[in-house]
């Protein structure tokens, strides 16, 4: 009988061969990314890059404007405060594997001040039942000595 017609409760009961895709990766942060994370390691502010032609300020900063399709030179980069406004948020109670989290996690999209860009970040708040949209938040960064130059140097965003 084809397996199609059987009720399978344990897939390992089928004739099978275990395997995996043995691929590891090493990702470079790129020209713009390297500059952004090098700055973040030493400073409590963010960098953004501005397209001269259309005026869009990209956060995270980019090497090029995706609309005008021109390069953004070094002189059009600027420093912005590590804070912003909550555009969207959700409160997660289960993890990727369907297991219950010890504490619900608030995760949101933060519009970064002085830019046209946003980033994903955890949000710390005492009032999880509050509508956070529009709340002002400030990035809480790792201690400088602990920073690695990765996105995890931004621990979370604190509601002000």
């Amino acid at each position: 009988m084809m397996t199609f017609f059987e009720k399978q409760t344990n897939p390992l009961d089928q004739a099978h061969h275990m395997g995996n895709l043995m691929v590891d990766n090493m990702y470079t942060s790129g020209t713009a990314g390297k500059k952004f994370f090098t700055h973040l390691k030493e400073n409590d502010t963010f960098l953004a890059s501005r397209c001269k032609k259309c005026g869009t300020t990209f956060f995270p900063p980019r090497l090029y404007c995706e609309d005008c399709f021109i390069e953004i030179p070094e002189e059009d980069w600027k420093e912005v405060p590590a804070q912003g406004t909550v555009r969207l948020f959700t409160i997660a109670t289960l993890n990727t594997f369907g297991e219950k989290l010890d504490e619900p996690k608030v995760i949101g999209m933060i519009d970064i001040e002085g830019t046209d860009g946003a980033m994903l970040g955890y949000i710390e708040t005492d009032e999880t039942n509050k509508d956070l949209i529009g709340s002002k938040v400030k990035a809480v960064l790792r201690e400088k000595k602990d920073r690695e130059g990765t996105v995890k140097d931004i621990r979370y965003f604190q509601v002000l």
């Binding site: 895709l21 043995m22 691929v23 590891d24 470079t28 942060s29 790129g30 090029y64 399709f69 390069e71």
Partner: protein, 387 residues
């Protein structure tokens, strides 16, 4: 079908590890192609992305990730891929966008960032095998191609020295290429034969290097081309063909799928005698023997004759049938899909007289480019002609 012209090409440095992201590489190649064509991104109607396995860049559905680096935001966009065949298949897909009349101007961008695959992209290649029959035996592509090379040598009684000459020619040709990863003006046949044996009969210098890089090509309708040039280059024929994945059931001494793809392209281009009508070729050369194998598949000589022509100097840049005047994959590098830069952009640059130090003497009129991929089964062919 509408006639399709080529009006610009671009290519980044090819290197083992570049800091630029895949998006940034795509942007840099696209920018060069736009500048060469003398147009803006707003003039591009549609974009085709060519990029081989997602496992190299390490981003699933990498076409979507790369898109903003190709200027395709809010445009019709598609990614095509068939392993190593992609570098010629992507411009074929670009061709049908314009030939069908759906687009007036299309840009083709090819990108590969093999350096992301750590510690070596061979780990990604291992995942292409049948998981039950092949993969438990831990084969890799070098082992496989060593067997194919052995079969080719045995069938025609070919000497290793004649095959090694391909590496010498291509690495020397690459000396004039601004993007080249492994140019070498002093390399000799002895250097190739004395380099480390990877899997007999393949030595280290028989293999092209893994690379990061991107290339771009701009295609447009005949009408549109008149706005940009008085001396256009046209895509005259395209062909593609694939054999069975059951490579164990095939005699590997001759690539029938390449011959089938070539016949399709030659028929479209009205080429009856490719040996007389084609002035130069860019066959896919990830391994030395593959250039010879593919010259035969492209019907540019008899079976088993390619090593003889190479030994006699016919395939040198100033020979009667220049082969891989760009320096090929062996000399310029092998960021899989991005080798569109050597296999198709080079045809355009040669025919338009823009190849600089690599320029073939004698005003070439017709060139053929070819790529090869999957498990020794995919052939992709394109013919370009000066208008």
């Amino acid at each position: 079908m509408n006639k399709v012209a080529v009006i610009g090409g671009g290519m980044t440095l090819f290197r083992r590890h570049l800091n630029e992201t895949g998006k940034e590489l795509s942007f840099l190649a696209s920018k060069m192609a736009l500048e060469e064509a003398g147009i803006q991104n707003s003039d591009i109607d549609m974009v085709v992305m060519g990029s081989a396995p997602c496992a190299f860049d390490g981003i699933h559905m990498k076409g979507e990730n790369l898109l903003d680096g190709t200027g395709a935001k809010n445009k019709p966009y598609v990614r095509v891929f068939n392993g190593g065949g992609t570098g010629v298949f992507a411009p074929i897909a670009g061709w049908w966008h314009v030939a069908s009349g759906v687009a007036d101007v299309a840009m083709v961008v090819c990108e590969e960032k093999m350096g992301s695959c750590y510690p070596h992209p061979q780990t990604a290649f291992q995942t292409i095998w049948d998981p039950i029959l092949d993969r438990p035996l831990t084969p890799n592509l070098v082992w496989l191609f060593a067997m194919e090379m052995n079969r080719y040598m045995t069938r025609h009684n070919i000497k290793k020295e004649d095959i090694a000459q391909v590496a010498v020619k291509n690495k020397r040709n690459a000396v004039g290429h601004p993007c080249a990863q492994l140019p070498d003006e002093n390399i000799t046949v002895e250097d190739v034969l004395n380099s480390e044996i990877m899997a007999w009969p393949v030595n280290l210098l028989d293999i092209s290097p893994p690379s990061d890089g991107a290339s771009a090509l701009i295609l447009c309708s005949e009408e549109k081309a008149k706005e940009f040039t008085d001396d256009p280059v046209f895509v005259d024929g395209v062909g593609w063909n694939i054999d069975s994945t059951m490579w164990t059931n095939r005699d590997l001494y001759f690539p029938d799928y390449v011959a089938n793809a070539a016949k399709m392209a030659y028929k479209m281009a009205g080429i009856k005698d490719p040996r007389k009508e084609i002035d130069f070729a860019e066959p896919y050369d990830p391994f030395t023997y593959k250039e010879l194998h593919h010259m035969e598949g492209l019907l540019l000589c008899d079976k088993g004759e390619a090593p003889v022509l190479t030994r006699e100097g016919v395939t040198e840049r100033d020979g009667d049938l220049p082969i891989c005047p760009s320096g090929g994959l062996l000399g310029v590098g092998n960021p899989i899909a991005a080798t569109m830069g050597q296999k198709v952009c080079e045809l355009y640059w040669q025919l338009a007289g823009k190849a600089g130090k690599r320029q073939i003497p004698g005003d070439p009129q017709v060139g053929v480019g070819q790529a090869w991929g999957d498990i020794m089964q995919m052939g992709t062919v394109i013919v370009l002609r000066r208008g």
